[in-house]
């Protein structure tokens, strides 16, 4: 990118001196951009390449593949995911796939439940005036959003005891409930903003034509608020996929998620860098891909409700 910005500078020499300053400014902007790109991407690059390194490459601190070291499948072989081991049975791979499936089921399941009940609540709160005892819409909204402040640690211990009594410890259902709760305020926060943008007249017209409240909601409002819904869903998936605290406390074998597996490997003494790197790469890959492909929706979800 620097090369591209440097090219106009020879042409600019003939112009008034104000342009010289502008070129310097441009170069500084691109330099800063590149520095931060390096900071943001180097750890990811480092992790991916380390999964292809052998012990010597790690101790000697080789960084650039092919130039400084010859990539090998070492890390992926230990996971049972390299080309030569993919056909054989591997207990590590089975373990990994189990955790991976748990993470997928929990992230998508919780995000789905939260998006459904959260957007229903958000719609109700933006359109109708409620009165539950002394509570009005404002209070109900605030009550939902205030759940965001609740730190997991304040909920984790009582939930642990409660789940033990309910026989929900180490079950997917139990984790599904916790994760839904965790992302629900965020979904409501995003969707309240999205529904407020839909003009009320559209629904009123539908109601005049004989549609019920629910009919108007499903046929008129939801299609318009669709992109917002997708944003809320994706953001919820991201947060659930990365969650560690609850998973570490409330699961042990059956419902263990990928972050817990990664964490249990880091704790062990004398960890193999290549296998840790492969595991970390596999754990971050799905979300990195989502981040690249669906960046638009994530940004939309993050900014909804915060920027007017």
């Amino acid at each position: 990118m620097t090369a591209a910005t440097a090219t106009p500078s020879p042409a600019a020499t003939g112009r008034p001196p104000g342009n010289g300053k502008r070129v310097v400014g441009k170069v500084l902007v691109y330099a800063a951009l590149l520095v931060w790109t390096f900071i943001a991407l180097f750890p990811i690059f480092w992790t991916i390449t380390t999964s292809f390194k052998s012990a010597v490459d790690i101790t000697q601190g080789h960084i650039i593949p092919w130039l400084q070291f010859e990539p090998s499948w070492k890390g992926w072989r230990s996971l049972g995911l390299s080309p030569d081991t993919i056909g054989q049975s591997s207990s590590t791979r089975d373990e990994f796939l189990k955790r991976f499936t748990n993470s997928v089921v929990l992230a998508i399941g919780s995000a789905l439940i939260a998006t459904v009940i959260g957007s229903l609540a958000a719609y109700g709160l933006t359109r109708f005036s409620y009165k539950f005892g002394p509570w009005r819409n404002r209070d109900i909204s605030f009550w939902f959003l205030s759940q965001l402040i609740l730190p997991p640690v304040a909920l984790a211990m009582p939930l642990l005891v409660l789940y033990k009594e309910l026989q929900l410890l180490d079950t997917r259902v139990g984790m599904l409930l916790v994760y839904t709760l965790m992302v629900l305020p965020i979904v409501i926060w995003i969707m309240r903003d999205q529904f407020a943008l839909v003009p009320v007249e559209l629904e009123q017209a539908a109601m005049v034509d004989g549609s019920t409240v629910w009919g108007a909601f499903f046929r008129i409002v939801l299609p318009i608020a669709g992109p917002g819904l997708v944003s809320a869903f994706i953001l919820a998936v991201v947060l659930c996929w990365n969650e560690y605290f609850f998973a570490a406390l409330l699961t042990s074998t059956l419902a263990k998620t990928l972050p817990v597996m990664v964490a249990s490997q880091t704790g062990s003494q004398g960890i193999n860098w290549w296998s840790m790197a492969a595991l970390s790469t596999a754990a971050i890959a799905p979300l990195a891909i989502i981040g690249i492909v669906l960046e638009r929706y994530i940004v939309k979800g993050l900014t909804a409700g915060a920027v007017k």
Partner: protein
């Protein structure tokens, strides 16, 4: 955190259809009967727990099922008894009942546990111990250190804000390849903090083979270590956490910058304001509300910080990097001390609620004065 004004229309709320008395009665009876059954079951369970009766359930599962049945009955009953208004209530009912079940009950229960000396590994079970957990906490140096660390970690949000603002300005500048830079800058936010703990904390910051350590060695630093000195360890933790979360604030601030009307900036240029002046006098005041939202949201997440500390340092050296969450986590993992851990967590929750409330009130008042 300001509430958006609810776009309610009074014309809508007038449209309440008349419900026949028979339907109303059926609805009310349905709600009443199921409520009585649920409360009765809860009462039996409590009496059983206290050892007063001997015919309770083997677990609390049936109560959970009863709660679900009660919720459905409540929904049906509301529709029957109130018609149109019942239909409208159905929108908020699922989320409300769900949150009630999973937050309110555990919170009340947690307050109770906080006053017991409950250790899962001891056979004595839970005993009411009054204020002894709080007394132990007030004399626990690790707790105070963790609380002090939280102040430090929270203060670091301001530094992160400055960096994020700078990045947002860069992305808002007239540049090529903006899409690429935006995606690249956002990526760290997508990654699991546990994976980042290994990627950065355990490998890049490794003192033997890590690239940063070898880079520092080349610069002449003797034995670089990132997690041995308490202050360097804290800063390393913050650096990792900031790496994940700066994109979050950056995205919010960038959206705010893009909302600044171009004409405003153009007119400032024409008036001869330099870039620096234009920024402080025109852009920054417009950006204040977004900035406050970004900082408060970020603070809320910062107060939950746990994963990185648990996985990289386990609070070490000597509790120097502990957050309240990681402290409680260890209290449970190592000593199974549920009573004390819950007491700490509940006190922390109260501290957070007070802190956030004061913060929201003050910033709200300040913003009204400024804008």
């Amino acid at each position: 955190m300001q509430n958006t004004p609810a776009a309610t229309s009074s014309a809508w709320d007038a449209g309440t259809a008349v419900v026949s008395p028979g339907r109303q009665l059926v609805g009310r009876v349905l709600i009443a009967v199921t409520t009585v059954v649920l409360l009765g079951a809860v009462l039996v369970e409590i009496l059983d727990g206290l050892g007063l009766v001997s015919f309770g359930f083997a677990s609390w599962r049936p109560l959970a099922y009863l709660y679900v049945i009660w919720s459905i009955a409540l929904a049906v009953g509301l529709v029957l008894a109130r018609g149109e208004r019942g239909h409208r209530a159905l929108f908020v009912l699922p989320a409300t009942l769900f949150t009630l079940a999973i937050v309110v009950f555990p919170t009340i229960f947690g307050l109770y546990i906080a006053f017991t000396d409950w250790n899962l590994s001891s056979s004595a079970g839970r005993q009411f111990s009054g204020w002894s957990n709080l007394r132990q906490m007030s004399g626990d140096p690790y707790f105070w250190q963790a609380l002090g660390n939280m102040v430090f970690y929270s203060a670091s949000v301001l530094v992160q804000y400055v960096v994020a603002f700078g990045l947002a300005l860069l992305l808002n500048a007239d540049i090529r390849g903006r899409k690429f830079f935006r995606v690249a800058f956002l990526l760290p936010f997508m990654l699991s903090p546990v994976a980042v703990s290994w990627m950065i904390g355990k490998s890049i910051l490794d003192s033997r083979f890590g690239p940063l350590a070898s880079f520092l060695k080349r610069l002449g630093v003797q034995n670089p270590a990132f997690f041995q000195d308490p202050w360097i360890a804290r800063i390393s933790i913050i650096a990792m956490d900031a790496w994940i979360w700066i994109p979050f604030m950056m995205v919010l601030l960038l959206a705010g910058l893009q909302a600044v009307p171009q004409e405003v900036l153009e007119s400032a240029r024409v008036d001869g304001a330099s870039g620096w002046q234009a920024f402080w006098q025109i852009v920054y005041p417009i950006m204040l509300p977004v900035s406050v939202t970004a900082i408060i949201l970020r603070l809320i997440f910062q107060l939950k910080l746990a994963d990185i500390v648990i996985n990289v340092t386990s609070g070490g050296p000597g509790g120097a990097t502990d957050t309240i969450s990681s402290f409680v986590f260890r209290e449970y993992q190592l000593r199974s001390n549920v009573g004390y851990g819950t007491a700490v967590a509940q006190v922390y929750l109260i501290v957070i609620i007070i802190f956030i409330t004061i913060l929201l009130t003050l910033t709200g008042r300040w913003l009204r004065k400024v804008t």
